[in-house]
Every structure is written in structure tokens, then in C-alpha cells.
């Protein structure tokens, strides 16, 4: 699946997007974050305070315990500051 990063999350990770292929036991967003952090120290640091990170599955904001389902894109970003 496609993973997108925005704002300071993108800067810390030094990339705006990547493609990942998590194993089958990764079913929720929390699972995905755990799996990515295990494989990538940068990710673990960037995602240290998970409560500060918002998530969108296929462009809809969802909680971290949401199942990934058939989603094609997941986006991680800090609280929004538009307007």
C-alpha cells in the first residue's frame, strides 16, 4: 500500500511517500505503525508521540485502531493548521 507523510513528519522521515507490503497479520493502523517502527529506526523516532499523529485511509480521517481493510493509501500527518 502507498504511505504518505506530510509536514514535519515528512521532514523528519526525509520522504513524502513510499510503498509498503506489510505481512497479513498487520490488520490495523496500529499494527502497521508497529511493523514500520520495527523495521525503521527513523520511523520509530518520528512516530514517538503517536497521539500527535493523525491518519487518513483513502483520504478519510480515521482513528488508529481502524482496520486497514482494502485501503490503497494511508496518510500520516500532524494536526492540521490550515485557514
Amino acid at each position: 500500500m502507498k504511505v504518505l507523510y506530510f509536514a514535519w513528519l515528512r521532514e523528519r522521515l526525509n520522504r513524502g511517500e513510499e510503498t509498503v507490503s506489510p505481512p497479513k497479520d498487520v490488520t490495523t493502523i496500529v499494527d502497521l505503525m508497529d511493523w514500520m517502527a520495527k523495521n525503521d529506526e527513523g520511523f520509530e523516532l518520528a512516530f514517538e508521540k503517536r497521539s500527535l499523529i493523525k491518519t487518513a485511509l483513502d483520504e478519510n480521517i480515521v482513528d488508529h485502531d481502524t482496520p486497514l481493510g482494502e485501503a490503497k493509501t494511508i496518510a500520516f500527518f500532524p494536526p492540521m493548521t490550515g485557514g
Binding site: P78, M80, G82, G83
Partner: protein, 150 residues
């Protein structure tokens, strides 16, 4: 009901947009325009502001807020313009315009859209000043502002 949502990098002219929005309208009595401007405090002056955004989601969210507003208030027309990229102090960032038969709906519709936009539209501000760059932090009072509509 007609709704326009425009995301753009280019600067826009607030008054010209208001006039285009009002043109040939004789059935509506009340129009409200909110304009958000790049602010530079005297104490902590900034040289520029950069807005990062998530394009398809930003477009979808803004259209969603406009639809919600039109369902909730008696509005005849809505226009939302939001910029992204680099902008300078004094430049407009965002403009929300509502047209309604009565003023209350026009005011509430515009404020409703702005409150949702501030907390739920995928834009992120970064300020550039003489001391470097800093990401703007989200404000809890913006969450409170959104919550009062629920």
C-alpha cells in the same frame, strides 16, 4: 445551491473574488466574506508562510464542509478558495464566501466552514522568519470552535 471549491498556488484578489461571487445576484439579501491573511507580528516578524497540503483530500474535505453547511443553513451559494505554497505577509491565504436570503445564515455558514477548515482540512503552515523555519502548532481553541457545531 451552487458550490465552488478552488485550491490554488497563485495569489487571488479578495475584492475581485467577492464581486464575482455577488455578480447578478438579486434573489439573495446577505453575503458574508471571510478572508484569512498572512499575519506578521511586530514581535516575531515572518518573512514568508508556506502551506503544504494533501491535494485530493483537501479538495474533498472542503467540498464536504460546504455541503454540510448548505444542509444546515439556508444558503444559496458557497465559494471556498484556499491557497497552498509560499506566500508573503499581507497576502490572502483563504477566502470563504456565503450568500443567503438572511444574514444569520450567511454569517453562520461562513463561520461553520472556517471552523471545520481550521481543524480538519489537510493543510499545514510553516513560518519562515529571520531565525529559521517553524511548523505552526495546532490550537486547541480551534478544536473548541469546531465542537460548538456538534
Amino acid at each position: 445551491m451552487s458550490t465552488i471549491v478552488r485550491l490554488q498556488n497563485e495569489i487571488f484578489d479578495p475584492g475581485q473574488e467577492s464581486n464575482a461571487f455577488l455578480k447578478d445576484e438579486t434573489q439573495a439579501g446577505a453575503a458574508v466574506t471571510f478572508t484569512g491573511i498572512v499575519r506578521s507580528n511586530a514581535k516575531a516578524p515572518i518573512t514568508s508562510l508556506t502551506l503544504e497540503h494533501y491535494p485530493p483530500m483537501a479538495q474533498a474535505q472542503l467540498e464536504g464542509f460546504a455541503t454540510k453547511a448548505s444542509e444546515r443553513f439556508e444558503l444559496q451559494k458557497i465559494c471556498v478558495i484556499h491557497r497552498y505554497g509560499k506566500m508573503l505577509p499581507g497576502e490572502p491565504i483563504v477566502q470563504v464566501m456565503t450568500l443567503a436570503p438572511h444574514r444569520r445564515a450567511a454569517f453562520e455558514g461562513a463561520e461553520f466552514i472556517m471552523d471545520f477548515l481550521k481543524t480538519s482540512a489537510p493543510f499545514w503552515k510553516k513560518e519562515t522568519g529571520i531565525n529559521g523555519e517553524v511548523w505552526v502548532e495546532a490550537k486547541t481553541h480551534d478544536d473548541d470552535a469546531m465542537d460548538r457545531w456538534s
